[in-house]
């Protein structure tokens, strides 16, 4: 590909001190076969317009920072190649369904609060002294939750979810998948502690299984599957409580 090839990036700009809603701004960047949309944004930032704001870190699909809407689809910009959008233009917007703080930067406080509510850590009824050693786990036991542990909190699933767009109280795909990551961990004993949040109206029952969260997920986590599986767990648990009310939670 000749070095002179270029592609236009149409970037959503939102500078709250000077405009009430986003506007588009176009930039021309080199079209190189190894360049991603993130490389294009970095070129803009370094050489064309230092005022452009966006998040990024690892450039290799691990940190989950650079999720944006590329040509209408929620994507990690570090894995969206410019050549896939050639001849362009490439439209870059902030992630949908989140408040925009500036340009391509969204406010993630809502997710952070929900993540804490589902207690995404190993809960033990009683702590084991360190000198008793580590908690052992077989490969099969690890396999039960490993898929959900791949979540990188990139928020593409929330951006793809129309339920979250219409009902911001929805706990959401990633938080529920991460709750399942611990519920299915053989070392964890905290499923009952997570049950109230997950089984609430804003929990798994708000999900109507659109499935776009799983389609958007860049790590193969399948949040839609996690939610449906927990629906089965919650329904079974409720039935047991109804038939056996004096049983343990």
């Amino acid at each position: 590909m000749p070095e002179t090839d270029r592609i236009t990036l149409q970037v959503a700009r939102y500078r709250p001190e000077q405009e009430t809603e986003p506007t588009w701004q176009s930039y021309e960047v080199p079209l190189r076969k190894e360049w991603t949309v993130l490389d294009g944004l970095n070129h803009i930032k370094d050489h064309l317009d230092g005022t452009l704001s966006y998040r990024w870190s690892c450039r290799m699909g691990i940190c989950g920072s650079c999720g944006m809407t590329v040509n209408g689809e929620p994507q990690l910009t570090c894995s969206a190649f410019l050549t896939d959008s050639a001849p362009g233009p490439v439209r870059v917007e902030p992630l949908a369904n989140f408040p925009v703080v500036r340009d391509l930067v969204v406010e993630l406080g809502d997710f952070m609060n929900k993540l804490t509510e589902v207690k995404p850590w190993i809960i033990r009824a009683e702590d084991k002294p360190l000198d008793e050693g580590e908690f052992l786990q077989t490969p099969e036991e690890m396999d039960a939750y490993k898929q959900y542990s791949m979540c990188i909190n990139c928020m593409l699933c929330y951006a793809a979810c129309p339920v979250y767009a219409l009902d911001p109280d929805f706990v959401g795909p990633a938080a529920i998948a991460l709750a399942q990551r611990y519920n299915l961990d053989s070392r964890d004993e905290g499923a009952a502690d997570r049950r109230d949040v997950l089984s609430s109206a804003a929990g798994v029952w708000a999900c109507t299984l659109v499935g776009e969260c799983t389609t958007a997920c860049p790590k193969g986590v399948d949040p839609a599957g996690a939610i449906q599986r927990y629906k089965l767990t919650a329904a079974t648990r409720s039935l047991k409580d109804l038939l056996w009310p004096w049983g343990q939670r």
């Binding site: 959503a12 939102y14 709250p16 001190e17 009430t20 809603e21 986003p22 506007t23 588009w24 209408g72 949908a96 408040p99 925009v100 703080v101 969204v106 406010e107 406080g109 099969e140 129309p162 767009a165 219409l166 109507t208 299984l209 659109v210 499935g211 776009e212 799983t214 389609t215 399948d222 839609a224 599957g225 449906q228 599986r229 629906k231 089965l232």
Partner: protein
């Protein structure tokens, strides 16, 4: 950018900084993607499932009232608009069934001999059970 006026909220963490911009959800958001459209149609199909239940209850009630009432029910259900409604309802019920069967592997983590069963056999089992149940119901009705 053609967007409707922004709805405003307090700044991050309740601070006094500029308010973040919240993009309003367009009325026709469900036309933007095929998956969204299928999802909305599947939700709508619940109305037609309910209609089928009502129709079956009406039919059972008419049968219980005797042959005269059942003939009146047949005359009523043979009207063009009832037939049309039932054809549309059938299409929606098929959509409901097929899309749910397609999604079933997401909800079921079936394990056999320590390995998770792939989606194909789970979907196939659903279709097989559907066919068997349909055959059983058809046999019950047709043998009389």
């Amino acid at each position: 950018m053609s967007r409707t006026p922004a709805s405003r909220r307090p700044g991050p963490a309740g601070g006094s900084g500029p308010a973040p911009y919240r993009k309003p959800v367009p009325t026709f958001w469900w036309l933007r993607r095929r998956a969204y459209l299928v999802f909305v149609l599947r939700e709508l199909s619940g109305v037609f499932i309910a209609w089928f239940v009502v129709f079956l209850l009406l039919m059972a009630g008419a049968i219980a009232e005797g042959s005269g009432e059942y003939e009146r029910f047949q005359d009523w259900s043979g009207q063009w608009w009832v037939v049309l409604l039932n054809v549309i309802a059938l299409l929606f019920v098929l959509l409901h069934t097929l899309t749910w069967f397609g999604l079933a592997p997401r909800a079921m983590a079936v394990r056999l001999r320590g390995r998770r069963v792939r989606p194909g056999p789970i979907v196939a089992t659903h279709y097989l059970l559907w066919a068997l149940l349909t055959a059983a119901v058809a046999w019950l009705i047709l043998k009389g």
